[in-house]
Amino acid sequence: MLGKKLSSWGLVGTLVLALALSACTKSNGAGNNPSTTASPSESSPAASSASPSPSESGPDASAPVAAAAEGPLGKYDPPITITTVRHFNTGLKFVAGTDWDNNVYTNGLRDELGILIKNLWIVDDSQYSNKLNVSMVSGDLPDVFEVTLQQLQLLVEAGAIADLTEAYENYASDLSKQALSEGGGIALETATFNGRLMAIPESGSSSRDDAQFIWIRTDWLKKLNLEPPKSMDDVMNIAKAFVNGDPDGNGKKDTFGLNVDENLFNGWAGLDGFFNGYHAYPFNPGGQGGTGMNLMFLEKNGRLEYADIQPEVKTALGKLQELYKAGAINPEFSIMNGMKSAELATSGKVGMTFGQFWNAGWPLNDMKIKDPKVEWGIFPLVSADDLPVLKTSNNIVPKRFWVVSKKSEHPEAVVKFLNFFMEKNYGETKEIKYNALEENGESKPTFGLAPVRGGFAETNQNDYYLVQEALKTGDETKLTPKAKDYYDGINRYRDGEVALWPNEMMFGTEDGSSYGILSQYKKNNEFMTNAFLGAPTPAILKSGPALKDLQVKEFTKIIMGESPVDAFDAFVENWKNSGGNQILAEVNEWYQMRQ
């Protein structure tokens, strides 16, 4: 009898326990979804930059006061705790012994500024937005957190974040002020609402490094006796040759000439550069990441026109249709995401892709490590005619902002975070360990661990010049810590360490590296920037997503040959009538106010 009783107890107990525990979920970044599409900017070397000339900073570690410590880098005594939330790219790697609560930044901020950082939760990039929304609903906002422009607007509207105008005025160090005032102060302007600064925008991402290049398998070019492209006609021919010439030498016609995926426009396998060659500047990414609300407008005859419906786009679409017919584009591209198109390239099935400067770091580096004989070269965009090709480049408007919850007792802490970052990366006490640490021959970035980041636009570019100088003269003394890192990487690659190939491809030579070619782009300022710099208007918010679906579908159908190229004109009419006219009206209203 007792035995039976015990076993029924046991059963009941188990069931109850199971029910109760089923409500518990595990947070803290365990669920890793591979981040889709766009640039894994956290793990590419130096998305921020280091200016070669150390300017005056304000390392004022004096006068500890009980409450808010004075000075840009004043220390809090007793220490204060600031809560924050973080997100990370799945490529993030920690050096042994370090983690989110124990790294150069947490330790530095604790020791030098008396600020203890408490991470309330940490999730993968793709889940950050949703998790933040949950926090917002539950009223559980951390002291400092990162938001997009749209979230910033929502927070300002709801009156949930602190006014940072005074905090910035009183506490920002000179370095921080310098970084945030670049580009005519557009970054601060974007974060200013009704004359009050409501967020600290991200600085240092405006160096035009979202311009595209052409990445080509140079070993395939060699095999087929082809020269690198000098015009869009060359690009067309190369693409077709890659299909028919059996460049991988396996006797099967299984290679493609141009990498395209469902995003259409992207930093990897995007068509931005292709369109640029025909003087078209469309930009409306499809796929999961595209919102349809970041639209590109060009100034024509005193008015703003939507870039994606210009006649030049039609010409380029016709060329893409031609390539598709010739078999140069993977027929499945319309359902492939960025990871799949990366696989296509790294498995040696496609020989040409348009992309941004960091493609050598991902995904091409893995391919190089596996098979060092594979050769990818990088080339400048080319034009279809005599006019120079302008590259779409829109990163002068910041995309990331740091805000402070209204309930926080120390709104100035966010400014101090920035000061600390700037000082340790660009100031007199800068050290390479705040940018990256090396372990087992691999460079592991640490700058992404800082709660607030900033930088100067031209750092990467300046580092490139320093590296070039050092390579010529052999004189290492003028190199900044990051530049030295690249310099060493290049030399070690040239000595045979294949894993450091990305350094060569980004900073190695004037004609064969991203920053080398970018410096050529910059000589004549060959860029096309969005003429519309405001936040998405109500019409864009309302019709943007539906119009994006329409556009992506039409473009895809034209490329695949399911619609004739002339269907583009019908699309333009459709776009205008389905809300496009309203969008143009509002955008031009903004433009007129700015004149």
Binding site: N133, L154, A158, G292, N330, P331, E332
Partner: protein, 299 residues
């Protein structure tokens, strides 16, 4: 000598009340969130601070250009899934019932039930490879037979059928087992009597087997009727892409895109409420019909 009822029954009470508490807290409690459907909801203002706008969210949905197309897609796909999801398990159950070798029967049962445990994320990846127009085995097989290659996941004409077929493949195991169980409940004496009277196998199926499982079929049909607006977000989200939106976009994925990018929580909740209301009506109606026509009380 005789235990009191309480001393005998308390483990049962514990199980029931725990489950009930769970349902109350996680299913009934959150119903208060329905008010979001009538508000211009901003997460920071919370449930009680957001502006009340009455039926404006519903009006907004009704006026969206794609709403009617999306609702059509949802109903079309869901109805097809329901029908196929009834017929296939019944047929398979009938076939399995005829098998004499118990071991084989049980093995087959287990194998067909396994896909139910795969998540759509995994299955989507598999399906993409299998259905690929250039490298997939389905198309390779079709080409070998001389048929033209079909871009299943990228062609808006095929996409809904791919959804239905893959979903049926994944879930028919569950229905099959339910119907098999129902089949074993049919009195074998009826079969023997029919054989004596000279009924063929087909006639036996038609007049004994099928009527014998009608109550279960009605039950399964009613349960799935409540799902008519639930065409399966998980599956569609993992398999669709912009090019198949016109036939593959269902209510849930449409609202997901709206809600995610525009932070239109009020609208998303309004749609959810609408779906629940429709399901409620349908289940009530089918319960009444089942009672009237099949004399079958579900609850």
């Amino acid at each position: 000598m005789g235990q009191s009822r309480w001393a005998r029954d308390w483990p049962l009470h514990l199980m029931v009340w725990t489950g009930l508490a769970f349902v109350l807290v996680f299913s009934y409690g959150p119903m208060i969130g329905i008010v979001i459907a009538f508000q211009k909801f901003l997460p920071l203002n919370g449930l009680f601070g957001s502006k009340w706008i009455g039926f404006d969210n519903f009006r907004y949905i009704a006026h969206m250009p794609d709403t009617s197309r999306v609702i059509f897609n949802t109903v079309f796909i869901a109805v097809m899934k329901m029908i196929a999801g009834l017929i296939v398990p019944i047929v398979i159950a009938l076939l399995l019932n005829e098998i004499v070798v118990k071991a084989f029967k049980r093995t087959v049962q287990t194998i067909i039930y396994l896909p139910h445990f795969l998540s759509w994320v995994i299955l989507a990846g598999i399906l993409r490879d299998v259905l690929s127009p250039n490298f997939g085995i389905v198309n390779d097989f079709m080409a070998w037979l001389g048929m033209p290659r079909v871009f299943f996941l990228g062609d808006e004409r095929w996409f809904p059928f791919v959804l239905v077929a893959s979903d049926v493949w994944k879930e028919f195991g569950f229905g099959t087992i339910v119907f098999l169980a129902a089949l074993t409940g049919i009195n074998p004496v009826l079969y023997e009597a029919a054989v004596i009277d000279g009924a063929s196998r087909w006639k036996r199926t038609l007049h004994i087997t099928l009527p014998g499982i009608v109550p279960i079929v009605v039950l399964m049909a009613t349960l799935s009727l409540g799902n008519v607006l639930n065409a399966g977000f998980d599956q569609v989200f993992n398999l669709y892409s912009t090019v198949v939106y016109s036939t593959g976009d269902i209510l849930d994925t449409y609202i997901y895109r709206l809600g995610l990018h525009n932070f239109e929580f009020g609208v998303a909740t309004a749609v959810g409420l609408f779906k629940s209301a429709v399901s409620f009506v349908l289940i009530s109606v089918s319960y009444l019909l089942a009672y009237r026509f099949a004399n079958y009380r579900i609850f």
